[in-house]
């Protein structure tokens, strides 16, 4: 078996707040092999984006990060600043959500894309301009758009610019943090197709973060579902989607109506209650207050990921080995 490109081990992240530290990510393990696409799903506030930022060490100063994040065998968390800057974008790039706020509003997009190329590859100005033009064409935008400002582009175009920017230095790992969330459905599909195509053509490894499970199954080989800062289920996406072992995964899947199935369209079932406050998590399995199949011992049970199928694992009492 090959060494994973990204190997996250026992990662915990706590933010410093006025009322004390708040743990957003707890004890997460995640492996991504070269060229593989891994999906990360969960509700808002479950720690998905914190994961993304932790991997590139972009969290605000004062945030406590524990565990190890090996990229190609090297721990990102102990890298010296210079090495870290060299790894950022050249090896690992991010497509952030909401490109309207992620692009600098007063700089032309060509300059913003070119900035990364010049920084990491020391290219000449004309070489950079050529590369920027080629990148824009690769994501389906005319090269002349390089002279536009972000506000002159539509939401979908801005997201394409973000993708072009992420590809600028041919990274080996791409983290897509809700890349389609702010877009309407048609544009969403276009951007997804583009990401899939690029991932296939360039052999990128990708972490795809979203709250929309149905998006993930079409894009990802493996899937991890997060709840309250932990991974609660993990496995090949087909398995997780068709035979979810964790009640939370089942609820996530049911929350999106199946096209063509009238029953599910008329009554998309959500999940009662709000995601738990990370500063005040329920005891035991943190999902138990919202769980439809709660057992008596769930409020005191220390759940961990137990095998739930041939290649999948879930953190639920129902699959606990006896």
């Amino acid at each position: 078996m090959t060494q994973p490109l990204l190997d996250v081990r026992n990662l915990s992240v706590s933010y410093r707040t006025k009322s004390g530290p708040v743990t957003a990510v707890r004890d997460i393990d995640l492996q991504v092999n070269p060229g593989e696409t891994v999906g990360l799903a969960g509700e808002s506030g479950c720690g998905k984006s914190t994961m993304a930022n932790a991997i590139l060490r972009l969290l605000p100063p004062g945030t406590r990060v524990e565990g190890e994040i090996f990229f190609d065998g090297e721990d990102v968390l102990t890298m010296k600043p210079g090495r870290l800057r060299a790894v950022r974008w050249a090896e690992m790039a991010v497509v952030f959500q909401g490109a309207l706020h992620t692009l600098n509003p007063v700089q032309r997009i060509g300059r913003q894309i070119g900035e990364a190329i010049e920084l990491h590859e020391n290219t000449s100005q004309s070489e950079t301009r050529k590369r920027v033009g080629a990148l824009l064409e690769q994501v389906g935008l005319p090269a002349g758009r390089a002279n536009d400002y972000p506000h002159q582009l539509s939401g979908g175009q801005r997201q394409r610019v973000m993708i072009a920017m992420a590809l600028a230095c041919s990274p080996r790992l791409l983290i897509a943090d809700e890349p389609t969330t702010a877009l309407d459905v048609m544009v969403q599909a276009q951007v997804l197709d583009l990401l899939e195509e690029l991932q296939r053509d360039l052999g990128l490894a990708m972490i795809f973060i979203t709250h929309d499970l149905s998006v993930l199954t079409s894009v990802c080989e493996r899937l991890a579902v997060m709840y309250a800062g932990r991974i609660v289920e993990e496995g090949p996406s087909a398995t997780v989607f068709s035979r979810p072992a964790h009640p939370y995964t089942r609820a996530l899947i049911r929350a999106f109506p199946t096209i063509g199935d009238t029953a599910s369209r008329m009554a998309p079932s959500g999940l009662a209650g709000d995601p738990p406050d990370p500063a005040d998590l329920p005891s035991g399995c943190s999902f138990h207050p919202r769980c439809p199949v709660m057992h008596e011992e769930c409020p005191h049970l220390d759940v961990e990921l137990w095998p739930a199928g041939p290649d999948s694992r879930a953190a639920c009492i129902e699959v606990r080995p006896t």
Partner: protein
């Protein structure tokens, strides 16, 4: 920047100026006063002399006639004669304008650059002792009335230590020329200049600090760091330019107040500029002089505001299309 945008802004400014011209006339007619007796401070003059003077100043005509005459003269840049000195208002003003521009212009330039610099330091090291010292010191000077700060400095450095002269623009009867004249003038300039610089400093520091802090929460700075840029480069290339936008407005508007901004400080230090002239004209009251000064001050503010609009459109591409 489109022609339409520029012409709309210019026309708007011209309309404002026209309004000020009209308002200026009525403002000083509402204040009922008898300029001729004010001129002679109650001394007896013959009825004939009085009538002759009223005729000379055009005060024997009806208000509408005076208004038409005023408009006509203003259009030809003729603001009448000072009641006090019997000299044309334009020559009175042009004799003083240079001194005010020297004093207030230098102070505004200094406080803008130093204020921005201090604001950047305070924001980048927020909640550290550096930040507290910078913020509270500039805040204290900002809170002091400028005439009071001026009196304090005057008492300390001119009266007690005798390091600097108490007022005026050169030593009386020095007759020095060349370099020694310049040194003499610089010494006289120092205390009023220091007063104004300190008084204006806090505004720039505080606004730059809060503007930069706002910018530092922006997603595009996270993206810039993710690209692998050094923190200093992120600050210089992405944070500071965007945070400077509100400062541009403030500075340009304040430059409009350069001419009128130092009435109190010029009076304290007997700096013979437009501020002191205004103070004396109010005391007289010297209506033509006041009219001329007020028109000049308003025109300066209007021009500065026009400059802000055009400059802002150049700096922030989003404004151009608005």
């Amino acid at each position: 920047m489109t022609f339409r945008f520029v012409s709309r802004k210019v026309l708007g400014s011209l309309a404002t100026l026209l309004f000020v011209v009209c308002f200026n006339f009525f403002l000083f007619r509402v204040v009922e006063s008898d300029p001729v007796s004010a001129l002679f401070r109650g001394r007896n003059i013959s009825q004939q002399q009085r009538q002759q003077l009223q005729h000379d100043f055009g005060l024997d005509k009806s208000k509408p006639e005076q208004f038409v005459r005023y408009l006509n003269q203003t259009a030809h840049l003729n603001f009448g004669f000072s009641f006090e000195t019997r000299q044309p208002v334009t020559s009175e003003i042009s004799a003083r304008i240079g001194r005010t521009i020297t004093l207030v212009g230098i102070s505004t330039l200094l406080s803008t650059t130093i204020g921005i610099w201090l604001g950047i330091i305070a924001a980048w090291r927020r909640n550290t002792p550096t930040d507290y010292v910078v913020t509270s010191t500039t805040m204290a000077f900002y809170a002091m009335p400028d005439f009071w700060l001026g009196l304090l400095l005057l008492a300390a450095f001119a009266e007690s230590f005798r390091w600097f002269p108490t007022g005026g623009i050169v030593n009386v009867g020095s007759g020095a020329t060349g370099l020694s004249h310049l040194v003499d003038e610089a010494k006289h300039l120092f205390l009023p200049g220091l007063t104004l610089t300190l008084a204006y400093l806090g505004e720039y520091t505080l606004i730059m600090r809060s503007s930069l802090l706002d910018t530092m929460g922006e997603d595009y700075l996270t993206l810039a760091r993710a690209k692998g840029l050094r923190d200093a480069t992120v600050r210089r290339r992405h944070a500071v330019p965007n945070a400077l936008l509100p400062i541009v407005t403030l500075a340009a508007v304040n430059f409009g107040f350069v001419l009128s901004g130092a009435i109190a400080v010029e009076s304290i230090y007997s700096w013979p500029g437009l501020g002191l002239a205004t103070y004396n004209a109010i005391r007289a009251p010297d209506l033509p002089m006041l009219q001329g000064l007020f028109l000049l001050f308003s025109a300066a503010v209007i021009v500065a505001n026009l400059a802000v609009d055009l400059l802002y459109a150049y700096l922030d591409p989003r404004v151009r299309t608005a």
